[in-house]
Symmetry: C2
Subunit: 994 residues, 2 copies
């Protein structure tokens, strides 16, 4: 029936629950759907779909995702509650880059659990993003202050990929001749976390870098590399806990023209001399212990800082301070041109989505505790470690054997035992405590903020089972008190760091870190920043290629349950059975949806998915003895991450033209290039529907062509929202594809991350899916890991799992139809006012479309950016601007917006078109008009002496709905050029703010 078709649900039994999810997720009601179909002159959704999706790719099969109609919200929470209960919450002192932390509840509730924070996008529109931009600048300031380096970015994906960024940045800092040396070598201290070293392997290969793992303190062995040396990576404190002096090493490396990178720990740096003060050029690490739960491996924000001289080579997003039109300070993404084009095929980094939400949490953690509070936490952690070490000694254990650490240790105590594996296994079994197997004969124990006296007693009790000598009595509490007394450790005289390693420089002196220490003030600060930002809680965010759909509350609830959030990523697998169930089901459902045979959830972003997929392809060819296949065909319309990823995999990128009329792949060019490079052809990367927002009719043929010439087909799944249930990459002919769970599968964008970019592959590639050095995962011939944690950002996987389970096969498919309908409805309404750039033969777009605003420049002087900024005055976030086609706007509504909201947005654009007409007609000045002056802030409108050719009211309330619901930008148009030439990326000095 047509009711069925417009609502996507089947008639139900009286016993079925009524809190079904699909109707809450999908914006348009059946009645609205009917109206939109009518507007487009279709009698049913299915006839409409047949005009949009090419017949030869329309899938005949139904999705298997069960239950078909989805679980109700209550059922979902019951089901995932049972799964969560399968995870065991043992106490973990494993360390290795992940430790327990206390998320201040005011931060958890008002950021992590607050849709205003978690549903916003990367702050591409700074005027309506000053809140999170300020918070990210706080993050950058925390990082620069604590590392002692000049500049830091707004987070990278994790510590392992940060190491990769450091390595390739070190490479890029060499003179070109040295970059090209055949034996160029990156020296990695063996005392770096194992998952970081493994991650470096995956990065090194594509750049032709040799990795040398060795003892960096043996400076001679570093020097021996001579001009082959790219740089050195050390960990500080080291993975075994020891603290060393790297000053001489740094001098030696610098003499050789290399770069010194230092993986480090922000908490330790509150007490330790910072890397910037002993010569490190780059410092990075995991900010997790600043208030972000371990979450079985992620997401967390990795930080990344560098010396001033290298700042323009820094990967990732950098928030800078610029000025707005009125000359007031305003934050923005700095060096954006670099980001937008991501250096394409010359890229050494492909990072796009990062970890903004987690960086904000960590920044707020620093704001809440302030320098004194952070130091107190560090001192307690260090003191407990010292006391624990002494306790172990008193049981006859050799502590920190063989570390030779002049600097002692900060939080990690290494203890010599007969058989480390056996000891750890037994302590887990008998005491429910996880320690780390450091090596065959060493166990390590890492202290953190959460450790209580009871915890220490339990650890001592556990160790005593393996003690050489049992201390006189077994009252652990008394023993702890006695040791503290003997060591003269009190809360006012905590354990100290040895001279020469002690931090003497101040940090976090800016008022922002010294004002908000009561919960009341903290709440107000968080709320104040939030109120400056436009998120999905305000209005639609129709960013093309970004799929800003509902991030439902029920999907979000489980991620803060301790059963999911408290697990260390390296716990024994039998403590993570709940995760296993969830991961297996999610992989199976994603394989079903994509038409693939196997899935890896390890990559932490879409771009990482690309990199992983291409590396899998390379590994496949290598295994087949076809190493030389290294050409990657990439349409000119591709997202910048595509060529960047290819380049990082050591592939040569060959562009494929697109038809300027239809936007479709130029098949002739494809055939030509595929044939030309037939012996070297590795892959093609296609985004489908294309980045132009159309289902190209010849996609199957394109796949066939590439296959014919021996290549593999990589599909960029950023636009998967347009396919689910109607067609699939696997059936179309792709061999591998990544998905952005943070687009299609409802993980909120978090203001610029987290993300999850799993890849699906056909069976012939399954053996190569990425592995992990600590926790077995991946294929039989797994490539090196692409993330620090075995399943990437495990703790947010419940979001996508829940979405799929609540929608069911039917709901997922219905959502796809509505996403197509919404886009086509908007395109149709707008086409009477603006040209639509690309549509298919039936005049239809896919799930998004490009508004061609290029012609307006000539008639009115108006550019896409002016429309984008004017949309802010109408309470909207701009569509994707100038990508993939310069000076156009790409609109993607998603299925979650209802007709009312689509109409409101269309009305705004139509009203803006009329404003442009006024300029064209000479009724408004060409330079001084509502568009060029957009966005208008309250302050701007109230400045007094108003003498523009339009009224303040027209500026503020161009349409009636704005009188009731208006979102105000807090700064006027931000000056990009000023910001990039006067790069400043830390908290604004107070005098400049007043």
């Amino acid at each position: 029936s047509s009711g069925d078709s417009t609502s996507g649900t089947q008639s139900s039994s009286i016993f079925d629950p009524l809190d079904t999810f699909q109707r809450r997720h999908v914006g348009p009601s059946p009645a609205e759907t009917e109206k939109m179909l009518e507007y487009l002159k279709y009698d049913s959704l299915d006839t409409f779909v047949r005009d949009v999706v090419p017949a030869n790719i329309l899938s005949a099969r139904d999705l298997k995702v069960s239950p078909t109609n989805g679980l109700s919200e209550t059922e979902l929470l019951e089901r995932i509650g049972k799964i969560a209960a399968e995870n065991k919450s043992a106490r973990s002192y494993i360390g290795c880059g992940y430790t327990g932390t206390k998320t201040p509840t005011v931060i958890a509730r008002n950021i992590l659990e607050c849709p205003e924070w978690y549903t916003s996008y990367t702050p591409y529109q700074p005027e309506i993003s000053q809140g999170r931009l300020e918070s990210l600048v706080n993050f950058q300031t925390v990082v620069t202050d604590l590392t002692g380096l000049a500049i830091a970015n707004a987070s990278v994906l994790d510590e392992a990929t940060a190491a990769g960024e450091a390595m390739t940045m070190s490479l890029a800092s060499l003179p070109m001749a040295r970059q090209k040396r055949a034996n160029k070598t990156y020296f990695v201290d063996s005392n770096v976390h194992p998952q970081t070293i493994a991650g470096l392997e995956s990065r090194a290969e594509g750049f032709g870098i040799n990795l040398k793992i060795g003892n960096a303190l043996d400076i001679a062995s570093v020097k021996a590399l001579g001009d082959d040396l790219i740089g050195v990576l050390v960990q500080y404190p080291s993975t075994d806990g020891s603290i060393h002096n790297y000053t001489q090493l740094s001098e030696a490396v610098h003499e050789l023209g290399g770069t010194v990178s230092c993986a480090t720990d922000l908490l330790a740096l509150t007490m330790l001399k910072p890397p910037g003060e002993f010569g490190a050029d780059i410092a990075f690490g995991n900010a997790q212990r600043f208030g972000v739960p371990m979450g079985y491996g992620g997401p967390h924000a990795a930080f990344f800082a560098t010396a001033d001289k290298m700042k323009r080579k820094m990967p990732g997003r950098l928030i800078g301070v610029s000025k707005d039109r009125l000359g007031d300070p305003a934050y923005r993404l700095a060096l954006q041109t670099r980001e937008q084009h991501i250096r394409r095929e010359k890229a050494t980094s492909n990072i796009c989505t990062a970890q903004a939400l987690l960086a904000n949490m960590s920044a707020m953690y620093a704001v809440y505790h302030g320098p004194a509070g952070l130091k107190a936490i560090a001192e307690r952690v260090h003191s407990l470690a010292m006391i624990l070490a002494e306790g172990a000694r008193r049981m006859g254990f050799e502590v920190n054997a063989g570390t030779n650490a002049e600097g002692g240790f900060f939080d990690t105590v290494a203890i010599k035992v007969q058989d480390a594996k056996d000891v750890c296994a037994k302590i887990t079994e008998w005491y429910g405590i996880n320690l780390r197997v450091l090596d065959a004969q060493r166990v390590s124990i890492t202290m953190d903020e959460t450790v209580s006296m009871q915890d220490l007693e339990d650890i001592l009790a556990a160790l005593s089972a393996f003690a050489v000598q049992i201390p006189g009595r077994l009252k652990w509490k008394e023993m702890l008190v006695e040791i503290a007394e003997d060591l003269e450790i009190t809360s006012t005289t905590p354990a100290a760091i040895p001279e020469g390693f002690k931090r003497t420089s101040a940090y976090l002196q800016h008022p922002v870190f010294n004002k908000y220490h009561s919960e009341t003030e903290m709440l107000r600060y968080i709320h104040h920043l939030q109120s400056k930002d436009l998120s999905l809680a305000n209005s639609m965010i129709p960013l093309g290629s970004c799929t800003m759909k509902l991030n439902a509350t029920t999907e979000m609830l489980p991620i803060t349950w301790p059963e999911f959030s408290s697990l260390h990523p390296f716990v024994p697998l039998d403590q993570a059975k709940g995760y296993k169930i969830l991961i297996d089901e999610l992989e199976a459902d994603l394989a079903d949806v994509t038409g693939f045979d196997a899935v890896s959830l390890q990559p932490n972003s879409g771009a990482q998915g690309e990199f992983t997929g291409l590396r899998v392809i390379r590994a496949y060819f290598k295994a087949k003895g076809e190493d030389k296949r290294d050409i990657c065909l990439i349409p000119t319309s591709a997202h910048g991450t595509n060529p960047a990823s290819a380049s990082m995999c050591g592939m040569r990128v060959v562009g494929i033209k697109c038809d300027p009329k239809t936007g479709d792949l130029d098949m002739a060019d494809l055939k030509l290039k595929a044939e030309k490079y037939k012996d070297e052809l590795a892959a093609i990367m296609i985004t489908y529907p294309s980045t132009y927002g159309v289902f190209e009719p010849q996609v199957k043929e394109a796949c066939e062509v590439v296959h014919k010439f021996g290549g593999q087909v990589y599909m960029d799944g950023a636009n998967m929202n347009a396919q689910i249930g109607l067609c699939s990459p696997g059936e179309i002919g792709a061999d591998v594809c990544h998905l952005n769970l943070h687009k299609t599968f409802c993980i909120p964008h978090g203001g610029g991350g987290p993300g999850v970019g799993p890849i699906g592959v056909k069976s012939h590639l399954a053996d190569f899916l990425p592995g992990h050095p600590v926790v077995p995962t991946g294929g039989k011939h797994a490539i090196a890991p692409v993330s620090a944690a075995p399943w990437g950002s495990a703790s947010i996987l419940p979001i996508s799992w829940s979405y799929i389970k609540m929608m069911g096969a039917r709901g997922l498919t219905h959502a796809t139809k509505i996403t197509l309908l919404n886009a086509n409805y908007m395109a149709a309404r707008l086409s009477e006012h603006y040209p639509i750039l690309y549509t298919n033969a039936a005049g239809r777009c896919a799930h998004e479309f490009i508004l061609d605003t290029r012609g307006l420049k000539e008639t009115s002087g108006v550019e896409a950016i002016d429309i984008a900024k004017r949309l802010q005055d109408y309470g909207f976030h701009a569509p994707t601007m100038s990508w993939p086609v310069p000076n156009t706007l790409m609109i993607e509504p998603t299925e979650s917006e209802n007709k009312q909201e689509l109409d409101r947005f269309c009305d705004a654009l139509i009203s803006i078109r009329k404003e442009i007409k006024e300029i064209e007609d000479g009724k408004m000045e060409k330079e001084n008009n509502v568009l060029k002056n957009a966005p208008h802030t309250i302050k701007d409108l109230l400045r007094g002496g108003w003498n523009r050719s339009y009224s303040q009211e027209k500026a503020a309330y161009p349409l009636p709905y704005l009188r009731e619901r208006k979102f105000w930008p807090t700064v006027t148009r931000v000056n990009d050029t000023y910001g990039d030439t006067n790069l400043f990326c830390a908290c604004v000095p107070v005098e400049n703010l007043e």
Copy 2:
């Protein structure tokens, strides 16, 4: 040490956790505290305190609250987690006014768990409260639409007190002669919920009303009352589930000049003919099943509606629609004058704090589901009940025996058994299912939104253990399906209500109930309303007598845990062991803090606490044979609820003068009156510190005087925040006192409720603490209950419990000192600009003080209200206005505000004083100035044609901090008179909004 004194903490061991709470709760840091002391010229907090608190009441004892230094936030959550685990989550089908419901997660997260919603105050300042005012109007519209009555208020405390309100309103609607009849009688149908009947008893006494409990369908017995009849109360559907026709009853009652009240159920009314259509004059009930968890009894919003002719007699807060200065529609508290003075000694109701937050949740539940969604839920519930009834019949049970219900039943099935108590106990024991013992031979089972097919199967299985005949097979699922088929019940043809009882009228046709059905739209609507309101997330709310302190996240977390929120209030006590632990500890700690021997947590608000305390005093005298003691002495400065409560207890109120100079009690007058009424003296009610904000030095003497003449001392503990740890009502000499947990003990004010108003008593009164008809509680000679649930609003008690446990004895005492310091610091700063009305001999106020703005009227025409409204332009909520002294402002900062915020507020008031000076100096016009035109909205400032004597900038940004942090009112000054004369209390028709 002085560090100790300014921080309130003791030096700690290195093993102690660092996430201590007290420093997060108390605003001023030790350094700020030093500065404020310096400003006031004290060398320590303790010398300062000695200047504030009279020496003869300063307590020598330390509080016992343990641990002395408080639990850390983590420890607290661990501890309460263990307590929560002691509650058992059995499934309850007990009904009786409480049922399972599904709180839409988008509402839970964005209202119940959202500080912007839960920390706001009662919307006394409508210009900065339009969000929750709109939501409360939605609530009122839900109630009027569903009950079919003309007007509804914005919630009352619970169903039992609503019944009391209905009864006293019925009384007040009679001609005076009939009101005074000795045998005036209220007829209550015996088929009303038992806790409602019991609650009526507690209300009836003070008004001299006889209660007749009988069969209201036996119209002759009603008629027999003749002129003694006040009115009749029926329940619809009745407590046993049956549905009756009350049309003839209504006619009969109206003929006798009485009022018909109907306790009812909003969900049932989506299917049933509404009370307004069969002649009811008043309808009320519990809105809990509209999305508010049962929470072991509360808080929930009770609703209350009445016919147009009675609207000005309606108790509670009523939101009306008026116009603002620009003529735009604006919501506000209607008939406020009535509320502010609460009719004082003539009051028939004392309701003040109500259930705003819960009313908002229920309103949003209706908005989210819309009329069709609500009806679908009702139809499913009803269908399941019909199926269950048939299942029971097929097992040979007699169903709905003796109910004689022509209307059948809606959700509750009454089943005849041999021994109802035994059957229920065994079903609980064997199946973990709670049913209701309706009477000796009937068990009832109430269906609700949460019931699944599995639940029904389990109920059938449980019943089968007691079945007369076992059906052929035991596959309950098949049986259910078969019954549904036999009864022809499907989701599209649900079970119907019998003709004549069916609802035919439409409801919830307003767009607000028909637009926000996707989660995205719902989120945006909630967010939009929230953004209009000023809460503690924005700035301090220095409302005198309201104690708007931090409502900490950690305190709030447990209340949404299912272990606390899912319990039915009438479950067997062994399922609520966690609650028992928590309640016992909280009672003990409150007794310690107040210096009393016993505590009752039953009253749901401060005013209810007063009523309860006075009733306890009356019961005490009655037991002593001193019935005739009925005089209550009340200082003229008392809060309006004091005389209202006394009057409701049947007491005669005699005013005691206050010294116009000092604000202190006029001791001579007190002695005179106490002596004069010595034989009839029941009590004095004193607020301490007084409502004038001073610790009166003679309070002990006052208590002695009253005791000497045989009276009891009732202390209004609204100002308890000034006493804790320094002095206590018990030690001062009070016999009973109420506390507002929603002031002093951190339960958030929720925009006008919930509240908890426990009373503490000396041992001689303990026997009279209120009891409960279903769940044993209270004293040996318990007075009738004052709330529907045995422990009132049990589910929010974890908030106060957590606060006390985290602060510890030391933190609580320190907070008191800081609350006094903050007030005195502000008073001192402001005293250079405004007279401070009352201070003690040392020139000190208590925790609040009155700014005397009366003189300004003459010099400038400015009144307190103008300053209050101008404060909105400065981003602040006004202090308490014109109470207790007309045309003044009473400021209470609380300990949670830091010096920075206090200074900002002082700066604003000082700047306003300068603006007033400009008027005084003739620099600004007397009528058209920044104060008289305040508050200024953006729309007002942008209207164009600006021609006022001050600039738009001056209106908007009078101080520099406002450029960064400005809160904008959304309407200009609201016209109170227009609203009261054109009373309109439902959603604004759309045409009026455009």
